[in-house]
């Protein structure tokens, strides 16, 4: 097998050797030009995240694909903490912890502000054999003890969140607090501020590590089961495979279930007119406080909030994704939708019994179709194992990306307030224009100013930098990142790459075949949820825009986030640029029974709001039937 690195002309040869390997190559990362107004964007990010000229053959020979699933927008400098976390935390699981025989880690680069990633494979046969030995023992241990380890995992995650909650950021006092003197602690507010920041960063990396503790193995089990089903029942859809193993009471549905309950309570307490009246959530809450039963409803809302409203409207990797806890617009839209459905006499509770019965029937029927007892045994075993690992696969999102990370972002804002109080920033949100390592410097600068009584340099140093970076990032956000760069690999072996991003030789070939400039009126992607729908497109490139969604729109976005679920009753179908069958959303699209095509590569750049489009979630195609003026 020809190795890809540095061998620019090998693409066609490889294609000839391996009939399924994609042929051709993508643009080199060195061919990417900074968009106008974004010159110097590199200064927003750490050196190790940039494409490096001195390692050109390596950088160019690799296959980089755009991770729009986690970061559809240009990264804020601070937010790189999330991608930097999994750059190590997810990678080390495959490379060093499990020693997955064929897969190393997933490398990252930031190009024009966007995250590109590249899985590393093991190709040396001796090394594969060596890794196999470690892998069997280590992964075997986890699978055998899965339930026990998962119970402990939940405990670890909750404790980590408790510690995160207890971290506080306060401006430094004019005079040190008396208790610090009379307790002869010998440590003061400056030290506490410094320690709090350290703890905050450590805490993120701690949860970031738990995030991946069991994930590769969980996906590995699912991948094995999925492939078995695809071999036994060629053409079986991914949603059917998932439906055989996915849980029915997964945590990710809880926030939405809470909203359904609140809608029912509003009907019971005859508060629907007040809730459906025009106005911001705050205005509605004020009105509610004045009507009979309103206080009871508000109390129920408050009770539902912790932890269920620590729910991001994005994937949780970006501070700018609104969180229900601090932005009630989203839950209110959903509650109103449910109230309207209840008024029409519709059942809004998820039909759990039916879902479970279907799961049992479907699994039994496929089992009966297998040719031999030996196959049925393998199927039973894989179903059981996959069902065992799936609660973690499905629920970790709530603990990590929603609950923990939402609180994490709120803590960073608290620190932002400290910098505002000390005149470093104009606004608490400015903190996100600094990389976490720059904040160490700024914090020390702040401590020096406080201790010495001199004006800290930070008071004048950061404001223009923040403004410049804001302008650069705004320019970057107008650029459309191509789905992939560099040389496609001969094969994809890293389970997460296939499961999460849906990257297969077929998708790569599809991307290679598309000229984005001259893209026709048909887009192809992963058939994520079956059915067909025709309607007007609503293209969403910023989470704020989800409030523009109208009834019967077709949602077109870079990535559909699971917490957008409440708009799903309004829309006809969903289309995304990025994502595979296990992309956080796919599960929920199917739950809502809406046609969905994910991983189209170019939907948000090809389709405009108002275009009439046809989404075929069974075939995985999106057709533009009628274009608005370009």
């Amino acid at each position: 097998m020809t190795k890809g690195a540095g061998n620019k002309n090998s693409a066609t040869q490889r294609g000839a050797e391996l009939p399924h390997a994609p042929t051709g190559r993508f643009l080199s990362p060195f061919e990417m030009v900074a968009p106008k107004g974004a010159e110097g964007w590199e200064s927003l990010y750490p050196y190790y995240a940039l494409i490096s000229a001195e390692r050109r053959p390596m950088e160019e020979g690799k296959f980089w694909f755009f991770d729009g699933m986690h970061n559809p927008e240009p990264l804020y400098p601070f937010d790189t903490i999330m991608t930097e976390n999994w750059w190590v935390a997810a990678s080390q699981m495959a490379s060093r912890v499990w020693a997955i025989p064929l897969a190393l880690g997933i490398d990252h680069r930031i190009i024009n502000g966007y995250l590109y990633i590249s899985p590393n494979a093991v190709t040396d046969l001796n090394q594969i054999a060596e890794r196999q030995e470690h892998f069997g023992k280590r992964a075997g241990y986890y699978f055998e003890n899965w339930d026990k380890i998962y119970v402990e995992w939940v405990e670890k995650a909750k404790q980590c969140i408790e510690r995160l909650k207890s971290i506080e950021f306060k401006p430094l006092p004019d005079y040190e607090h008396e208790t610090h003197i009379y307790s002869h602690r010998g440590l003061y507010s400056s030290y506490d501020l410094f320690v709090s920041y350290n703890r905050l960063i450590e805490n993120l990396f701690e949860m970031g590590s738990y995030h991946f503790e069991m994930l590769n193995l969980g996906y590995g089990a699912y991948l094995t089961f999925r492939e078995f089903c695809q071999e036994a029942f060629p053409g079986i859809t991914d949603q059917t495979i998932t439906s055989m193993v996915s849980g029915i009471d997964i945590l990710l549905f809880r926030p939405d279930d809470e909203l359904r309950r609140l809608a029912e309570l509003a009907v019971k307490l005859s508060l629907t007119d007040t809730l459906l009246a025009d106005g911001t959530p705050d205005a509605v809450l004020r009105a509610l406080a004045k009507v009979p039963g309103g206080a009871q409803w508000i109390a129920a809302l408050e009770q539902a909030k912790d932890p269920w409203f620590w729910f991001s409207t994005g994937v949780g990797y970006t501070h700018s994704d609104p969180v229900w806890m601090t932005d009630l617009r989203f839950p209110f839209i959903a509650i109103r939708t449910y109230i309207e459905e209840l008024r029409r006499g519709k059942e809004i509770r998820r039909p759990l019994k039916e879902i479970l019965e279907t799961r049992t029937r479907v699994t039994a029927e496929y089992r009966a179709l297998l040719p031999t007892n030996q196959d049925r045994e393998a199927f039973d075993g894989l179903v059981e194992l996959t069902r065992k690992v799936f609660p973690f696969v499905e629920d970790h999102n709530f603990y990590v990306e929603h609950w923990h990370h939402s609180i994490f972002w709120s803590k960073v804002r608290e620190l932002g307030d400290v910098f505002v109080a000390h005149k470093f920033f104009k606004d608490r949100e400015d903190i996100f224009y600094l990389h976490r390592n720059e904040i160490y410097g700024a914090l020390y600068d702040l401590m020096i100013g406080w201790a010495t009584g001199s004006e800290p340099r930070g008071e004048t140093y950061w404001k223009p930098i923040v403004e410049r970076r804001r302008a650069i990032r705004d320019s970057l956000s107008k650029w459309s990142p191509p789905p992939a760069l560099g040389v496609p690999p001969a094969s994809i072996t890293e389970p997460l790459t296939i499961m999460l991003w849906g990257i297969t030789p077929e998708t790569i070939q599809e991307w290679l075949g598309v000229d984005p400039a001259a893209a026709g009126n048909v887009l192809r992607g992963v058939a994520a949820s079956p059915g067909k729908a025709t309607g007007r497109a609503r293209v969403i490139t910023d989470p704020e825009q989800i409030y523009d969604i109208k009834d019967k729109d077709i949602l077109v976005c870079r990535i559909t986030a699971p917490s957008w679920a409440p708009v799903f009753p309004r829309i006809l179908a969903a289309v995304s640029d990025v994502g595979g069958m296990m992309a956080h959303t796919a599960i929920i699209s199917r739950e809502y029974g809406l046609p969905a095509v994910v991983g189209t590569g170019y939907a948000t750049t090809t389709i405009r709001t108002g275009d009439l489009i046809e989404v075929d979630g069974t075939a995985g195609t999106v057709r533009i039937l009628e274009e608005v003026a370009r």
């Binding site: 492939e227 060629p234 053409g235 031999t372 030996q374 393998a378 075993g381």
Partner: protein, 365 residues
Amino acid sequence: MSEAPFILWLDDPTAAGNPLLGGKFANLGEMTAAGFAVPPGFGITTAAYRYFLRSAGLQDEVRRVREAAPGLQLSDIKRETAALLAGITNAPLPADLESLIRTHYARFEERVGIMNVPVAVRSSGESEDLAGASFAGQYETFLWIAGADALLAHVRACWAGMFGEAVLSYRQDGDTVISKGDFAICVGVQLMVSARAAGVLFTLDPINGDRSKMVLEACWGLGEGVVKGDITPSRFTVDKVTFEILKRQVTPQTEEYRFDPAAATVRLAPIEAERQHAVCVSDDHVRALAALAKRIEAARGAPQDIEWAVSHSGDVWVLQVRPETVWSRREQTALVTAPKSPVAHVLTRLSGVRVTKPSAAPEKP
């Protein structure tokens, strides 16, 4: 005269699987008894056929032709059977048999409330079930036959069809099937379904034998074109468990088989422009047909090949069922390479080795 009835209604309690009805109609009797929507009708049994041959004195000639069949060249068949066919066409029907057919047709008119009710007249051979021989399309079918006189003429035509070139030369494993026994034929008479669309449905994928799929072929109008092969049907692949429509290959169609009142016959007639590119069966009908086929397969305990029609009012009808004969007879081999614990399967897979043997899985179409 034997005790065996000459005529048997499809919904007669003794019709289900009754060999007197031949393979095709005995199956339909079974389907009717099981509650499936089979167009109503009756069979003029194999006993009636034998009674006619006896009374016309044609038994010896039949035996002679049958015994000669294996040695006949295709070009000889016509000459060799001319006398027999003339006999079948012209010999008087025994009066009791003729009156029985006429009274049943009259009763049928009453049952459905239509005078001169148009019927489909089909041969249903005893030999159809023989060793899995499908005899598909070898026997005669006459559509849109109205009136007792026309019916009688076509009953004779079906009987004569027993000695057509196709049947006499039909071979299985090198042997001429017709020479293997004294096969008789039943003539099935069924209410004609005026089909908006029709076709066939296999309860497995006929291309790769995958039993988790069903493949439906459909065309506008009567299904004759799909069966004969002169119309390229649209094709739908449906998941047998979930009824998801996994694949749709829609073929534009410019002509369909339908009844032409002017010519008083079924013929290939042009389709108006707006229907030519439209899909002839809705997704709902595809799913309904798939659900029906799945129940038929379960009732019959093996993969089936089903002919169906959707009437202009949208009703779904089962026209014919027979066991699938190609993949069902193959031995099924194990998919997994070796029995292993599920954890071992996963560990092996993540080490780059698949759980299944590449060759064991059904070929991808």
